[in-house]
C-alpha cells in the first residue's frame, strides 16, 4: 500500500502546485522586465503573509513531489532498492525542505 500512498502524495502535491507554478511563471514574466534587483524582489515579498504562504506551501509541496519522482528514477535507472533508496530519499527531502525553508524566510521575514 506504500506505493499507492506515494502515488497519491505525488498527485496531490502536483495539484497543489499547478496554480502555484502558473503564478510563479506569471510573476517571473512580469518581474524580469527591465532586469532584476534584490531590492525589487524583497520589496515585493518582505513582510507579506501572502507571499510567505505562497512560497512556503510551494517549498513543502515541491520537496515531497521532487523526492518521490527522484525515488522512482533512482530505482528504475540506477537500480537502488530498499533501505538505501529510502535513506537517500529521506535525506534529499530534508535537504530540499531546509534549503527551501531558509529561502522563504530570507525573502519574506528576515
Amino acid at each position: 500500500m506504500t506505493e499507492l500512498r506515494l502515488y497519491m502524495a505525488q498527485r496531490l502535491t502536483a495539484l497543489i502546485m499547478a496554480p502555484l507554478v502558473i503564478g510563479h511563471i506569471a510573476v517571473m514574466i512580469y518581474a524580469v522586465q527591465g532586469g532584476l534587483s534584490a531590492g525589487e524582489i524583497l520589496g515585493r515579498t518582505r513582510g507579506s503573509l501572502f507571499w510567505a504562504l505562497f512560497y512556503g506551501s510551494f517549498v513543502a509541496a515541491v520537496s515531497i513531489h521532487a523526492t518521490i519522482g527522484i525515488r522512482t528514477i533512482l530505482s528504475e535507472w540506477a537500480g537502488l532498492r530498499g533501505t538505501l533508496l529510502n535513506g537517500v530519499c529521506i535525506g534529499l527531502c530534508a535537504v530540499l525542505l531546509v534549503m527551501g525553508g531558509r529561502a522563504v524566510m530570507a525573502v519574506t521575514f528576515a
Binding site: L42, G69, I73, M99, R102, M105
Partner: protein, 121 residues
Amino acid sequence: MSGRAGQMAKRRIRGHALWYAHILHRVSGIGLALFLPLHFWVLSLAITDVAALDGFLAFADLPLVKLSEFGLVFLLAVHLFGGLRLMALEWLPWPAPHKTLAAGTLAISAFLSGVFFLQAI
C-alpha cells in the same frame, strides 16, 4: 516504425509520441530537481548578503545566462502541462486524443518560455 538496420537488439525502446512525452517529463523533472537547491541557495543570500544576491542577479543578466533561464522556464512549463496531461488521462473520462494533448503541452510550454525570454531581453 520501420526497423533499423544495425547491430544487436539491446537498444532501448523507442520513438513514438507518448514515449517522447514520458521521457520529456522525466528529464525535465530531473533538471528541475537539480536546479532547486541552487535556486534556494541564491535566494537565501538575502538573509546573509544582499550585495552577493545583487551580484548574482547581475550575473543573471548575461545573455548566455538569460538563455539558460529560458530553458528553465521551458522545463517548468513542460513539466507542469505534461503532468496535467498525465492526470487528465488517468483520472478524467476522455481518453482518446493523448497525442494531441502531448503536442499541446509542448506548444504551450514553448509559448510561455518564449514570452519570458522576450520580456527578459
